[in-house]
Structures are given as structure tokens and as C-alpha cells.
Amino acid sequence: MTNTTTLDRSRDLSQPLDKLGPDETLKANSRQLRGTINDSLFDPITGAVTASDTKLMKFHGIYQQDDRDIRDERRRQKLEAAFSFMARVRLPGGVLSASQWLKLDALARDYAGETLRLTTRQTFQFHRVLKTDLRALMQGLRDVLLDTRAACGDDTRGVMASINPHLSKVHAEVYALAKQASDHAIPKTGAYDEIWYQQEAGEIKEPEEPFYGRTYMPRKFKIGFVIPPSNDIDVYAQDLGFIAIVARGKLKGFNVAIGGGMGRTDQAPETYPRLADVIGFIPVAQLIATIDAVMSVQRDYGDRVNRLHARFKYTIDDKGLDWIKAEIERRLGQPFAAARPFELTSNGDPLGWVEGDDGRHHYTMFIENGRVINTEQLRLMDGLRAIAQVHKGTFRVTPNQSLTIAEIAPQDRLAIAKLLDDYGLAGLNVGSALRLNSMACVALPTCGLAMAESERYLPALLSKIEPILDTHGLREEPITIRMTGCPNGCARPYIAEIALTGRAPGKYNLYFGGGFHGQRLNKMYLENVGEPAILDALEKVLGHYARARRPGEHFGDFAIRAGYVAAVAEGRHFND
């Protein structure tokens, strides 16, 4: 155990603001996330908000973006960039009612370019919302008891939970806990209601943020609940993961995993993806106290000087896992019990019809890159609206950006199936197993971080990879492939068996060797290459895999055994 007298406190909350990064001062002086957002919304000369307000609005679940496809064109036209906003719903566990679906659908049609985006953290994003429509959108969400609190920002992001339709009763219990965790861990400031619902600022109870204080977390903090054997939420990619321990159909408690995270920065070797470590077991009753203890350790010790190095994973590696665990236990007032055994087998979705242990039916449909939109070929948005109009159960957004129509009573199954047929949605789960295990982030044109295409490109690239699969008889072989437009890792690329992360337009890093069920990071195979090199590499390695794989051997495991990449045992060796 590290002696506290030698503990480096030079970069954390104990320091005065002027010793910390500029965002700490911004947060501290924001009057608990109010900033000048009201003024910015009113300013009629620009479709944007001020630079500091863009940062504060993330805490309200809103990202300012602009249409990068026409950024230069508009500059020449003496017009400011085509600013719009992405609003991300807070939807713990990805569960929503049919009436909530209908409201999201209507809001998307009114304010968000007639499209909804399902995300890798089981929620919805509205894109291309104009500044002048933001309040109407937020108030529309409020009508169906939804909000966008803490969907972005240095706070606890949307809380994930396995959609596991097989274990319906356990799912119901875990989902309720995920929602409770989210409601507990989000900021408590009145800024949200004042700004978006235009409520009068009431008398402020001090302190307004008893947990977060004035400076919130050093960086985002992600929590997720997984129900084995599915690892659909990629529990090892969460800052704080809870692995449900179920015995004889009953939820006993959770193994606690800490320190996962995908984000890294190219050319910055001190940044790396990291998988979470399982540190023990807690009974259900300890859940909220554990969240408080873990988050407070990161709040107090996380790096507030360098945002690239501020996630919990770096705090753990800097202070040492043992020290962090001990500090959490100290704050909990008791040590963790030993972790219980569990087994994870896949991070994909159970596509198609599944009957749960409560006798109800669930249909999971693959939605390519989570994009819900009507096209000439497929009226996906209309079809899902038609289903929502008759569906009596819930919907679940999967962690792979797909959708489960959940809790269908046996007598209602035919009606739902007919609508799926009528709108051509029953055919969505057809494609190579690679495609059905694919995932891409939004990237261009709206994401400000993107360096290369992702959502708009991956489907076309898959169409070029599928002939390679066919050549080698691998069409039905489930292999995970994920693409992101930048190294930040929104689609959790660093745990995919094949991953591509954007470096520049048309150029990607190619990774191999992730664990099929999310248990191992992958490693870079080729750096900064274009499509021909990517296809050549896949032809070579997939061909070799088809010829030389062992029975049941996953592609990621093979790529390591065959020596294409080295196994990454720990995140800090990812860049070695």
C-alpha cells in the first residue's frame, strides 16, 4: 500500500484552480453549469453558443456541432458554419416505453432532420437540432419523463445495462438498479430546469451539488451493468462495471470492475485503452454506496491538469490498483468480498426472436450503425413508429446500436411480426455474421472530433469485405468489427477482433486481436492506411484464419496465435 505522504497530489482536486487545467476554472465559475447559456440561446446573430457555453452544455447532454461537409463552402459564402446541436437522451439501460418511442419519433421529425441515432451506450441522439429548437426539444422530452442530463460532460454518463431478454426477471431487477444508479449519480444543479424548462430559479439549497462540488468530475465517468453470459455492454470498457451474479434465477449481487476506458490519442503514448479489473463482490444493498465510494476516489484523485490523462483508468495505473481498491474500501467502511465466478461468452446481440423466462417474447433487430431513418429502400422509421403504435411492451436499445422490441405477450407476437414483414424490417438480420457484429460511430459530417468517415463508410467497406469472407467460407463466422472516425473510441473499437480508427480522410489504423467477448484489447497491425491496404491485409489474414484456425477458435485469438499481433495483457502496454 502506498504511503499517503508520498502520494502525488499535485494534479488533483486538492490544488488551487490556477494550478489545474482551464476547464476546472470554467466549471468552478459556471454557477453550477449555468454559465451564459441563456444569453447564448438568445443571441440571434449566431446559430452557435459561446465557446465556454459549448463546454457547459455537454453537462446538459448537448454537443454543439456543425455540418463539416459544407463548412468551407459556407466560409466562402460569408456565412458562419452550419451550427446545430446533438442532444443525447439519458436512457438508463436503454429501456423505453412505446409512448416514449412515439414522442422521440415525433421530436426527431420536427426538430432533428427526421432521423434518430441509436448509440453504443444504449440511447438516442438527436442530430442537427437548431439552437432555436433546443428548448422545444427538451420540453418535448420532459413530456414523456425523459431528459438529457449528464448525457455528456465530466459527470456520470448514461448508465448501461444488458438487454438480456432470456433472463427477463433478472433484467427487470438490474434495469431498475441501473436507473436508480443514474438518477443518483447525475448532477443535482437547478441549471437544467431553469435553462431548458425556463423555470424560475428558486432558492438555491447550498450546497447545490453535494457530491460533485463546483468542479464535477475530472472527466467523463461511465457505469454499466452486465448480465452474464452476455457481455453486450462491454463491461471491461466501463469506468465502473457491475457484473450481475445470479444464482438459481435470483440476483445475488455484483462483481465490481473498475478502470475500463477506450479513449486514446494518436501520437500520445501516455494515452491508451484499458480494460477494467474485477476487484471484488458486493451485495445488491451496497450498490449506491459503492458507486459513491468509487466515484469519489476518482473525483478526489483524478488528474485535473491534463484532460487527456484524466480518466479513472489513468488514476488507477498512476496510484496503483491496490491503493485505489483500498481507498474505495476505506470509504465504504469495509473490504470487498472475493469476486464470484462468472462467464462471459459474447458481446454481440441475440438477434431475432427470443422467449424470456417470463414467457414473453422479444425481437432483436440489427440496425446498421444505429441509424433510424426512412430511405427509398426501407421505411425503417415509419415501420418502428407503426410498431410503437400497437406495442404494449417496451423497447430496448442494445449496446451494439440495435433494437429489441421487448416484452411482447405471446398473443401479440403475430401482429408485431406482421408489421415487421409489412415494412421489410424482418430482413434486417440478414447479412454476413461480420456485418451483424459491426459497429460504427457517427463521425462525419457532424462530429467535431472525426478525422475520417465512419458511419457513412463502414457499410460500403463491409460490402467489399464480404466477398473475401465468401471466398474463404467465413460468411457465417461471427467476427466483431468496429470503426470510429477518431481514436476516442465511441464504438469501443479497441476490444474488437478487427478495428479501424480514423486518422485522416480515407486513412485508418487497422487493429487485430481483440477478444470476442470483450475480454482482451486488440493491437495495431497497420498504421494510417487506405482501403486497398486494408482489404489486402484482411484477405491475407482472414484467408489464413480460414485455413489454419482450430475448432471454435475466434478470429481475434487466431490473429495472436498466428503472430500477426502480440496479445495486449494490460492497457498500458497497448502502445508498446
Binding site: P44, I45, Q77, L79, E80, T132
Partner: protein, 613 residues
């Protein structure tokens, strides 16, 4: 010599005192010599233009009794102008009159003191017409006085009127007709019949000038000789630049970009011209005259319909040319004029066209003119065997188009920028386009050469640098404000500035958005309000923003702000005017009449200036 009983013509009392003092001291021989001396001085002065001083003295002392002799009658030339053509002709007329030794004063109707009217002896009026029979905006007050009950009887006045107009309009030359009619009603004597000039006034106006000057010339003088000098005076424009409307400068297009963003319901362009080497100067508020060429497709359609050859020889302005070139660069081949309807009615014998003639058919004729272009009439009422000259006789000369300049020489030396809305519409299922705007949109790419000239606009001028300005504009009406702000930024002007801008959609039509943002950031522009009429947010127009900020608007006015309105004449100008009157009434407690008078006083003080079209 003895002291004289009365003052000589055109002499001030001070001068008359000195002459009298001199007279009583002179020997007869001395007086005789002096008379010869002054005769010589007078002649020299006339030759060198020194007569101007006498004329000015005359106007400066109108209370002096005037000698009744015909040759000593005073002449006032009054002009009413929108684009400066009347002013140019008035100056030409004055120069010609002075050459004949006529005492002449030239005045803009906008500045003319109407109480002097009853003392005028000879009055020559040159005025254009605005819109449908209205006076030029700056002359509205003069027209109101003359046509109102306060106008004096004018039994001793002699007058003549030159009317400028555009035969595209139904009420052609109505401004001049109104003055001509009213002066007669007031008892004045018409010296010469009124002459109505179409847009090609360069032909008819000089003849009228020569004829009225001859009529006014003193009897003992020789008849007007057409000397080379006087011909030059008659044809010379008021501007001193080497390049003008008759001799436009071939300007190179530097840049031509679409300002309106994707998804816009309109196309608004920003066109930059190089004036390098032209010697042309302009002030913020001035306009640029652009000499367009017709759409080749329209020219071809006319030629094809009539089975006429593009290379058919024709004569245009006494110069040999070809029909194709004439239709491209010398005549309007899109919009129809009443003259063309008459002409084509005769050529085709079409009863439908003949039925549109006559003043009582004006409304039907106007509707027909809106619904047809030249080529439509040619196709619908075919004429066979028409020769090129007969076609051209019915067509109106192609006119340059004026656009407010949206730049300042202080910011961009040797450049003039325009902000142009491309006019496109469908007529009879066919896409059509404005002559000049589509020329600029489609045939004025960078490096193209376009003939241009400067059209001065003295009624739209920045005030002194420390005065506040409130600029109200919609659409391309924002153009002169870009010039204003460039000028004020370059000059380091200290006066506050407030821009109220309106358009359809925020996202696509916020013209020069990033420039205004920069000016606001740098505090060159103090304040900006915007109104978009087709966004989801409640639709708003500039007058709505003015009303919403009534208190501030009135405070600015009270603190001496100058107001500018630029844009659409039919809707924007009256709506803003009404809003300003309401604001003044509401904020000051004045009644409607007093509020209108407040605004009228601003207009008289040149603090309320409009450039509307």
C-alpha cells in the same frame, strides 16, 4: 453724374451704394470710358464662365426688385431625380443657358425653398417618375406643395417641362405630366410643349434643351449657334469622370460568389469589380450602373421565331451593326413595353393586341405585359417577312441597371462590390430571369469584363463620423450598409451604429453574416437585430423588430441618429415608415399628425434617407 433712383439688375444693395458713390464723383468722360470697360469685362466673364458669380449673386438677393426688361428675366432650373439623370440634364441645360447670357440658378426639388416659387420668372423643370406615376422620392414634398392648396397663382411665370420616364411602366412620365398640368392650372405660361423622354433620353433631351434655350435667349442676341462648344455642353454629363453612363468603364470581375447558402429559396450574389485604372470614385451610398448583355438563348429564340439571321445588317445609333449584336447589347428583348404592343399590333394586325390600346385598357394591358415577354408575343402573333429594322423600331433600348455599391473605397481601393439578387421566375411554363441579375449570375465569372459606371446618390449619405446611424434593410437592401460600415471602420468613426436586417431564413439567407459578427465583435457595429420571415420561430420582419425595440429606436432618434431604409419600395419602405411613425407617437406621446411631422422634419433635415426600389 447724379445718383440713380433705383438699383440695377442683379446688384446687391452694398454694390449699388458703391456704384452710386462712384457715379456722383465721375466726370462724363470717365463714365463713358468705364461703361466701355465694364462691357469688355462682362464679355470676358461670359466666355470664361465667370457669369456664374453673377447668377449666384442674383439668387442670393431675390428680395431686390427686378427690372422688367425681358433680357433681364431670371431663370430657375428645377430638377427632381431618383438616379441622377435629371440632375445631369439640368446641369447641361444650365450650362447652355449661361452660354446665352441667361442668369440661371439650378436647384434640386429636394432643397428648393417653395416660398420662392411666386417670385420665379422663368422656370424649367426636369423630373423623372418613380414607380407607378409617383414623383422621385426626394421630390415628394415639392410635389405636395405644388399640387396642394398652398400653391400660389403664377400668372407671370413662364415654364417648360422635360419629363423623364420608362415606357415599361403604365404611368409613363407621369411626374413631368403632373408638373406641366399643374403649372398651367396655376396660370403660368408654357414656353415650349412638354417633351416626354423614355429611358433613351439621350436622344430627345438635347433637342428640348436647345429649343428652350433658344426661346429664352435675349432678343438682341444672335440665334443659338450650334458651336462645337455648345454641342459639347449639351452632351456632356455632369460627372467629371472620363467614364460615365455614355462611356462606361470595362471593369474586370474579381470575384462572384453566391452568398445564399444551400437550401435557400433565393440566390443572392456578391460580385466584385476592379475599377483599377478607371479613375472612378464613389462614396458609400452610391450605385454602380451595370451594362448587361441579354441572354443568348433569348436572343436566339427571337431570331428563330422570326426566321431572322443574326448577321442581318442593322444601324444602331447611327452605327452599322448586326441584328444579333443589336438584340444582345442594344435592345430589351425580355420585358414588353406599351410601345411594343402598339408596334406589334400594327405589324401583326392581331385584334387581341389592338384591343389592348388606349388609356381605358391600361389595366388589361398591364396584366398582359406581366404575362408576356417579347418572345411570347412574337410567337403568339406571328409576323412573316419582317425585316430587322422593323423589329428594332418596336424595341426599347437596353438600359443599364443600377445596384447599390456594397463596398467602400476606404476599405477596398479600386474595387466596387455589389450584392445582387438573381431574379428567376417561371412564365407560361418557361424559366425566365432578370436581364442584368442573370447576366451577373451566369455570364460574369471572374475575369469577365463588364461595362460599369458610377451613379451618384447624394440622398443616401453617411452623416458626420460622430453621428449615430440606424440602418434598416431587407435582403439586398443591406448592400449600402456594408459600404457604410467599411467606411466607418476605415475612418475610425465614433458614432454608434445599429443595423436591423431582414431576410427569409437564418441558416441560408443571413447575408454577410460573418462580416457583421466581426464588426460587432470589434464594436464597429454597435448593435444588430435580425428578422427572418420563413423560419420556424414566429415570422418577423424588420418593422417588427423596430416596434419591439421602440424605446431604443426613439431614444436613438432623440439623440440625433440618422435613419436609413434600403430595400423593397412596395412593402418594406411603407411598413417601416408606418412603424417609425407609430414608435414616435407611442414613445413621445405625440398624436399621429405630430408624429408624421416629426418624421417629415427628419426627412427635411436629411436624417431620414431612403434608397428603395
Amino acid at each position: 453724374m447724379t445718383r440713380l433712383e433705383f438699383a440695377g439688375p442683379g446688384l446687391s444693395s452694398d454694390q449699388w451704394e458703391r456704384i452710386n458713390d462712384l457715379a456722383v464723383s465721375l466726370q462724363p468722360a470717365q463714365a463713358l470710358w468705364l461703361s466701355g470697360y465694364f462691357a469688355g469685362v462682362g464679355s470676358a466673364a461670359r466666355g470664361s464662365g465667370g457669369f456664374d458669380q453673377v447668377a449666384v449673386l442674383d439668387r442670393a438677393a431675390p428680395e431686390q426688385p427686378l427690372a422688367p426688361a425681358a433680357e433681364t428675366r431670371s431663370l430657375t432650373i428645377l430638377y427632381g431625380t431618383e438616379t441622377g439623370n435629371s440632375r445631369g440634364l439640368a446641369n447641361t441645360l444650365a450650362a447652355a443657358a449661361k452660354q446665352q447670357g441667361i442668369v440661371t440658378a439650378v436647384s434640386d426639388m429636394a432643397d428648393y425653398k417653395t416660398r420662392k416659387l411666386k417670385d420665379e420668372q422663368d422656370l424649367l423643370v426636369i423630373t423623372s417618375t418613380h414607380g407607378e406615376g409617383d414623383p422621385p422620392q426626394s421630390a415628394v414634398a415639392f410635389f405636395e406643395f405644388l399640387e396642394g392648396r398652398k400653391a400660389p397663382k403664377l400668372p407671370d411665370l413662364r415654364f417648360a417641362v422635360l419629363a423623364l420616364g420608362d415606357s415599361t411602366y403604365e404611368k409613363y412620365c407621369e411626374g413631368g405630366k403632373r408638373i406641366d398640368r399643374r403649372l398651367e392650372e396655376l396660370g403660368a405660361t408654357r414656353l415650349e410643349p412638354r417633351v416626354d423622354c423614355d429611358v433613351d433620353f439621350e436622344e430627345a433631351a438635347p433637342a428640348w434643351i436647345q429649343s428652350v434655350v433658344a426661346r429664352l435667349a435675349p432678343k438682341q442676341s444672335e440665334p443659338v449657334r450650334t458651336t462645337p462648344a455648345s454641342r459639347a455642353a449639351v452632351s456632356a454629363s455632369a460627372t467629371t469622370a472620363a467614364f460615365d453612363k455614355q462611356n462606361p468603364f470595362p471593369a474586370t470581375v474579381i470575384d462572384n460568389i453566391v452568398l445564399s447558402g444551400r437550401g435557400s429559396s433565393k440566390e443572392t450574389r456578391h460580385v466584385e469589380f476592379s475599377l483599377e485604372g478607371s479613375g472612378l470614385r464613389y462614396e458609400p451610398g452610391d450605385a454602380l450602373g451595370v451594362v448587361p448583355r441579354n441572354d443568348p438563348a433569348v436572343v436566339d429564340a427571337v431570331l428563330d421565331s422570326l426566321k431572322l439571321a443574326a448577321d442581318a445588317p442593322v444601324v444602331v445609333k447611327q452605327k452599322p451593326s448586326t441584328l444579333g449584336e443589336a438584340l444582345s447589347s442594344a435592345f430589351e428583348v425580355s420585358a414588353v413595353t406599351p410601345r411594343f404592343i402598339d408596334h406589334w399590333a400594327e405589324l401583326s394586325g392581331a385584334a387581341a393586341l389592338a384591343a389592348l390600346r388606349g388609356p381605358e385598357r391600361a389595366e388589361a394591358r398591364a396584366a398582359f405585359m406581366r404575362a408576356h415577354h417579347v418572345v411570347d408575343i412574337i410567337r403568339r402573333f406571328p409576323v412573316t417577312g419582317l425585316d430587322a429594322a422593323a423589329l428594332l423600331r418596336g424595341l426599347r433600348p437596353l438600359q443599364p441597371r443600377l445596384y447599390s455599391i456594397s463596398s467602400s473605397l476606404a476599405a477596398v481601393p479600386d474595387e466596387a462590390h455589389l450584392t445582387v439578387g438573381t431574379v428567376r421566375y417561371d412564365l407560361d411554363g418557361q424559366p425566365r430571369a432578370g436581364v442584368a441579375s442573370s447576366f451577373l449570375a451566369e455570364r460574369a465569372a471572374p475575369d469577365a469584363v463588364v461595362p460599369v459606371y458610377i451613379q451618384s446618390n447624394p440622398h443616401f449619405r453617411l452623416p458626420p463620423d460622430d453621428a449615430a446611424i440606424l440602418m434598416i434593410g431587407a435582403g439586398t437592401g443591406v448592400a449600402p450598409y456594408r459600404a457604410f460600415m467599411q467606411e466607418r471602420e476605415a475612418r475610425g468613426a465614433t458614432g454608434r451604429s445599429w443595423l436591423v436586417f431582414g431576410e427569409r431564413n437564418f441558416r441560408s439567407d443571413f447575408l454577410y453574416q460573418t462580416e457583421w459578427q466581426g464588426l460587432l465583435k470589434d464594436k464597429v457595429l454597435t448593435r444588430m437585430d435580425v428578422a427572418f420571415s420563413r423560419d420556424r420561430t414566429p415570422k418577423a420582419y424588420v418593422q417588427d423588430r423596430l416596434r419591439q425595440n421602440a424605446r431604443d429606436v426613439y431614444a436613438w432618434l432623440e439623440e440625433g441618429a440618422h435613419i436609413y431604409v434600403c430595400g423593397d419600395a412596395a412593402r418594406l419602405a411603407p411598413d417601416v415608415d408606418a412603424a417609425l411613425r407609430d414608435i414616435i407617437a407611442a414613445e413621445s406621446g405625440r398624436d399621429a399628425v405630430a408624429a408624421a411631422e416629426y418624421l417629415a422634419a427628419l426627412q427635411r433635415d436629411h436624417r431620414y434617407q431612403r434608397d428603395v426600389y
